[in-house]
């Protein structure tokens, strides 16, 4: 559902001789000409590493993101909501799958990527380390988290790396219903009983600031944005996307009759933007460092599922092996008889 700028520091253009510089130059010229880079094309190692890191973080976010929403599938309050939520969380599994496959075109494997997640080496979006405490959280996640994700993902459909861009096109198409289902849940709650409206307000109070953090640190502190922009992996800065999200979302919240948990939120007539208060970046750093409310719980659930499934994956491989051997023996027997 979401990819986040996490300030990793390895996106340094490698020092190179004239031949390497020439290849880098030709590569950059292709990117500048809006040509797509495909798996077997030559690419700078740092470009490959940056992509593997970003695409796999994005994939991990989809997979971990299934957990907070998955909490409410069995408790969804109507059959219509249950079906929609199950389909949505299932879509996230699909998106994780498409993205892992896109990363695999860069020479890594699903197993390696999953290992990186489960060992804690790889990051995923900070937002999924917050708990889903009421049904309204399902509305808030769809409306706000998916809304923020869309801001980020639409430009990625034009990313310079072909397989990533194609995966994003598919994901954006499938995700178009996610934000709407979330907003509809919020709308229904806000038009409902006082308890329901309070539930919606509480969800907004808890999710608003973490959603603003989803766009990553302020541009001034974002270390590899510039290189990613040059490679056309990232087309808008963290702050640009965050402002775009706030401008789109605040009127939607007011339409619901909800109050944003930010006393400094004001409309800047002249600029045509909603100005918001200071983000608590210390909280963001803590969540990224593993100290969010649910980091350990989410990772444990993923590790448990992976460990509990090991015997199933082994059995599938063992059975495939047996079948292949029997088929070989059968053809061998036929050949011997002929």
């Amino acid at each position: 559902m979401y990819t986040q700028a996490l300030n990793a520091k390895d996106a340094v253009v490698e020092a190179a001789g004239p031949e390497e510089a020439g290849r880098n130059g030709r590569f950059q010229a292709r990117v500048d000409a809006e040509e797509r880079i495909e798996p077997n094309d030559w690419m700078p190692e740092a470009y490959r590493r940056t992509l593997v890191r970003q695409i796999s973080q994005h994939a991990h976010s989809e997979i971990v993101g299934m957990l907070p929403e998955g909490n409410w599938i069995t408790r969804a309050p109507s059959l219509k909501r249950k079906a929609a939520l199950l389909a949505k969380v299932q879509d996230e599994a699909g998106h994780g799958l498409y993205l892992y496959a896109a990363a695999e075109t860069l020479g890594t494997s699903r197993e390696e990527l999953v290992d990186q997640l489960l060992s804690g080496k790889a990051k995923y979006s900070s937002i999924f380390n917050y708990p889903t405490l009421s049904w309204a959280d399902i509305g808030a996640i769809g409306w706000l988290v998916d809304g923020a994700a869309i801001m980020n993902q639409i430009p990625l459909c034009r990313c310079s790396y072909g397989p990533y861009a194609r995966a994003m096109i598919r994901i954006c198409k499938e995700e178009s219903f996610h934000q709407r289902q979330g907003y509809e849940i919020m709308l229904t709650l806000c038009r409902g009983t006082p308890e329901q409206k309070a539930m919606a307000q509480d969800a907004l109070n808890r999710w608003w600031w973490p959603c603003l953090m989803m766009f990553g640190p302020p541009d001034a502190e974002s270390q590899h944005s510039e290189q990613s922009a040059q490679w056309k992996i990232k087309r808008f800065s963290n702050d640009e996307l965050r402002q775009k999200f706030v401008d789109a979302t605040v009127p939607q919240g007011h339409h619901l009759g909800l109050t944003f948990p930010d006393p400094d939120l004001t409309y800047d007539e002249a600029a045509g933007h909603w100005r918001f208060g200071a983000i608590d970046w210390e909280e963001f750093r803590q969540v990224l460092a593993g100290n969010g409310p649910c980091n350990r719980q989410r990772m444990k659930q993923r590790r448990d599922a992976h460990a509990a499934g090991a015997w199933v994956r082994e059995a599938a491989m063992a059975h495939a092996e047996k079948r292949a051997r029997r088929a070989r023996e059968a053809t061998g027997a036929v050949a011997a008889a002929a």
Partner: protein, 95 residues
Amino acid sequence: MAEAKIPLWEVFIRSRNGLAHKHVGSLHAADAGMALQAARDVYTRRGEGLSLWVVPSAAIVASDPADKEMLFEPTASKIYRHPTFYEVPDDVGHM
């Protein structure tokens, strides 16, 4: 300790009769039957297809991008292969 890798497959879908199968993505499966079912479950959740192919990714032989010029540029000069190369007077009508 490392788990055996489950093979990668490429998925192709015919979206309607009359169209060719088109590559839509990849997945992991232990065998062909599993790959076909996973392709159905992963890639046709919104009525995308009428027919599926799955191919082990390892079975695909790809041309080398470094050979691109040798392979694909010589064709550019064969303009006589295209109908617009030939002149037919307008009053002859459509041909």
